[in-house]
């Protein structure tokens, strides 16, 4: 088929595809960046749109368990840090949606996919944040696992995602440190505080390990993503790296990781760890986690209750395209 481009020169669609694919392959082979205006295979666009929007949804839903403790934070300093952290997460959501939009799907549509249950978000946020110590364990374990996942994504072949990840990772490392600090204060505090810290780690350890996704043997999207330089390491490799990292950290905290099989394997040069409950993982993924329904209900309520506000802003903008400038000044 012959189509006409903006400069009115007739071009061949098949020829564009062939040249585009060649350019794409060359960039991927050179481990360089694909940018929004570059030609890309439909599968690449679809995979990235799904992955980046899921990541954005996770940031937005992930605000809930921590927002749950803003009003009850036990010191004003902790309250300020927690507010800033949850606010960072909204910021991450915003720039991830922006990165996803460069692939052609508007934020409004991505949001609809979340609200109608057609899009997923990280399952970890379907577990409750029961005590203040969960703010520590979420920072240390959940943000820690997120960093292990996201640092390699800074080198993702898709430019806007890779660059967003650089900034996200910087902030996440602060988040992890503040989580560690909360647990450190608790584990060096009163016996009740230490118990609170241990209980949170007991509950969140296994779900945090499952954040890396199913074992490599059951992971459907991995190979293609590796070939496209979206993903750099397999789920199991990242999980192992994370376990190796947190074992000495747990020792420094004086807390125990709830896994009797956890031990150093001299031969492998890694920690061995026990099996994870993948039935539970799939159950939560499919909507049956402790708080899936509550998290979605809260997001839908906020969206529905904000509808009249968004409509008002649009109506005002339509009426006042000129007077707003006069009001705000220049």
């Amino acid at each position: 088929m012959t189509v006409t481009d903006s400069s009115q020169i007739p071009v061949d669609r098949a020829e564009i595809e062939r040249a585009g694919q060649e350019h794409f392959d060359r960039i991927v082979a050179a481990d360089s960046r694909i940018e929004p205006r570059d030609w890309m295979p439909e599968g690449y666009r679809k995979t990235l749109t799904r992955q980046i929007s899921q990541h954005a949804h996770s940031e937005i839903i992930g605000m809930q368990p921590e927002a749950n403790w803003i009003t009850r934070a036990p010191s004003l300093k902790r309250k300020a840090i927690l507010m800033a952290k949850v606010q960072d997460e909204a910021g991450h959501g915003l720039y991830l949606y922006s990165a996803a939009e460069t692939l052609g799907t508007p934020r409004r549509e991505l949001n609809q996919q979340l609200l109608h249950g057609r899009a997923k978000y990280s399952s970890i946020f379907n577990y409750p944040a029961r005590t203040w110590a969960d703010m520590g364990a979420i920072g240390w374990l959940v943000d820690g696992a997120a960093i292990a996942n996201q640092v390699p994504l800074c080198r993702c072949s898709y430019g806007p995602y890779g660059r967003a990840m650089v900034r996200v990772c910087k902030e996440e490392s602060f988040h992890q440190r503040q989580g560690w600090e909360i647990l450190h204060a608790l584990s060096h505090g009163t016996p009740a505080q230490k118990q609170m810290a241990q209980d949170a780690v007991d509950r969140l350890y296994a779900p945090a390990l499952m954040m890396f996704g199913p074992p490599d043997s059951d992971s459907s999207n991995s190979d293609q993503s590796m070939a496209w330089n979206i993903k750099r390491f397999s789920n199991d490799e990242l999980r192992q790296r994370f376990v190796d990292m947190i074992v000495p950290q747990a020792e420094a905290l004086g807390l125990t990781l709830p896994d009797p099989d956890l031990k150093w394997n001299e031969e492998r040069g890694h920690y061995d760890f026990g099996p994870l409950d993948w039935d539970e993982f799939w159950r939560v993924v499919k909507g049956g986690g402790p708080l899936n329904a509550q998290r979605m209900q809260r997001r839908r309520e906020a969206h529905a209750e904000g509808a009249w506000v968004r409509e008002a802003a649009e109506a005002y903008a339509a009426k006042h395209t000129t007077t707003t400038t006069a009001l705000i000044g220049d």
Binding site: I60, M63, Q64, A67, I70, T71, R72, A73, P74, S75, L76, K77, R78, K79, A80, M83, A84, V86, Q87, A90, G91, G93, L94, Y97, W132, I182, A185, L186, G189, T190, A192, Q193, R298, E301, A302, E305, G306, A307, W308, V309, R310, E311, A312, A313, E314, A315, Y316, K319, H320, A326, L327, I328, G329
Partner: protein, 280 residues
């Protein structure tokens, strides 16, 4: 209608800001608050703290992600003001900001009823913000020239931030007032809901007489407040409410006329009071 009086905070330039460390340093050098100054700082600090506590609820519940961030930012600024003011107030008798925030009773708080009002829908929150941010803007503008150098420095920093809060509230009042029929109705209802609690903000107390030159006399801010708010409401096609003012039953800021304060504190203090003496 006059747009000239509706300044935009985007015109403000960033200045030199005081840091918590500087306040702490000043306090170490022996500059502690007198009992009267402490009571005054506590009054301002409690307003900021309770409003931050209310606004913090919105994070993850706002109409747009941008508003989660904006309301979160405003709450963080206010919490910062509260921390400075409570730290300074506590210097009078060796108490920390947390002693004052978590271990005072309902009767001991000095917050005004306006900031204690529930968040309601977004219009109620914006109406409360419009009134409080305009009041705080005028207050801190005057307090920046206080004879008490610590109060002056805190006010100087807070002024730059509340200027943004005022801009945010003004921009939303315009959009809700002059948006859709529904938003207009909600915004008018909301402004009427918070209006009865204005008088308390502008009521002078003996404390202000004793702190002449140090504290700002609340009644002195009223005329400019009224003129500015009337301008914003007019620009937003809203009416200035004609509703009775709620009497200061039991004393200004006594909490005796508030049924909200106890619930706010019950939530805010719940964890800290279960672990007295603990470090977090």
């Amino acid at each position: 209608m006059s747009f000239a009086t509706i300044d935009s905070a985007t015109k403000q330039s960033a200045g030199t800001a005081i840091t918590a460390e500087e306040i702490a340093e000043g306090l170490h050098e022996g500059h502690t608050a007198s009992p009267d100054v402490a009571r005054y700082a506590l009054t301002l600090g409690d307003d900021a703290l309770i409003l931050a506590q209310r606004l913090g609820w919105w994070i993850s519940r706002a109409p747009e992600m941008e508003e989660d961030i904006a309301l979160g930012n405003i709450a963080l600024d206010l919490l910062g003001h509260a921390r400075f003011l409570l730290t300074y107030a506590g210097s009078a008798d060796g108490r920390t900001e947390d002693d004052l925030a978590y271990f005072r009773t309902e009767e001991e708080f000095r917050s005004c009823r306006l900031v204690e009002q529930p968040n309601g829908d977004f219009a109620h929150t914006i109406a409360r913000q419009l009134l409080f941010s305009q009041y705080a803007y005028l207050l801190y503008r005057e307090l920046a020239g206080s004879a008490d150098s610590v109060l002056g420095a805190i006010a100087d920093k807070a002024l730059k931030e509340v200027a943004y809060h005022r801009d945010h509230a003004t921009q939303w009042t315009l959009r809700l007032g002059d948006g859709t029929e529904e938003s207009h109705r909600r915004m008018q209802e909301a402004i009427e809901h918070v209006w009865p609690y204005l008088e308390e903000l502008f009521t002078d107390e003996d404390l202000h007489d004793r702190l002449e030159g140090i504290a700002v006399r609340p009644s002195s801010l009223r005329a400019e407040f009224d003129a500015h708010v009337a301008d914003v409401l007019a620009a937003a096609t809203l009416e200035v409410p004609q509703v009775p003012q709620a009497m200061a039953y039991g004393g200004v800021r006594s909490g005796a006329a508030s049924e909200h304060r106890g619930f706010i504190l019950a939530e805010m203090q719940s964890l800290a009071v279960r672990h007295p003496g603990a470090t977090w």
